[in-house]
Amino acid sequence: SQTIHQWPATLVQPVGSPLSLECTVEGTSNPNLYWYRQAAGRGLQLLFYSVGIGQISSEVPQNLSASRPQDRQFILSSKKLLLSDSGFYLCAWSSSRGLGYGYTFGSGTRLTVV
């Protein structure tokens, strides 16, 4: 069966520090991968998606970047965090064959920038 792992679960980082959040998927190949953010009191905002290794599409201009160094690994990064980067970050995957049952989400990372 397919599983998705996301870590760390919580993170407190000072303003100006770097960020690296990692997500890995098991039990499937060539998944579509996504990073979403839920800011306080807001909905789920799509940040990045990837349909293959090295293929990254950005949905919103921001202080973050994403990379996909391996087929089932998706990384969210920042060189210098801003206070506005605080939020709940979610990684998700879907089958490249179609939406079917939609996305499967990871358990999320609560990022607090202080």
Binding site: L46, S57, S96, L99, G102, S107
Partner: protein
Amino acid sequence: DQQVKQNSPSLSVQEGRISILNCDYTNSMFDYFLWYKKYPAEGPTFLISISSIKDKNEDGRFTVFLNKSAKHLSLHIVPSQPGDSAVYFCAASSFYGGATNKLIFGTGTLLAVQP
């Protein structure tokens, strides 16, 4: 530009009664709709979906209705249980629209089921 809207940020319902969560969309290219349930500090979990060729899909206590002419869908939970208390997100996509499978989510509705 919010393409998927959930205009009710919260809803309170008595246990055993019906919960009705609403969602509106603006993009006529959307042809696949999903509902997700989210508990605090957890990732959303898939609940139920419907394609635009149907106007109703049922799964146990959960039923989703789609009104394409009004660009409106709703989720009915009958009977509501305290364990249903969570944030519910509506999401939409163009199912046959390409390889990206992008889902556009609404802002969510917090459902509180009172015992």
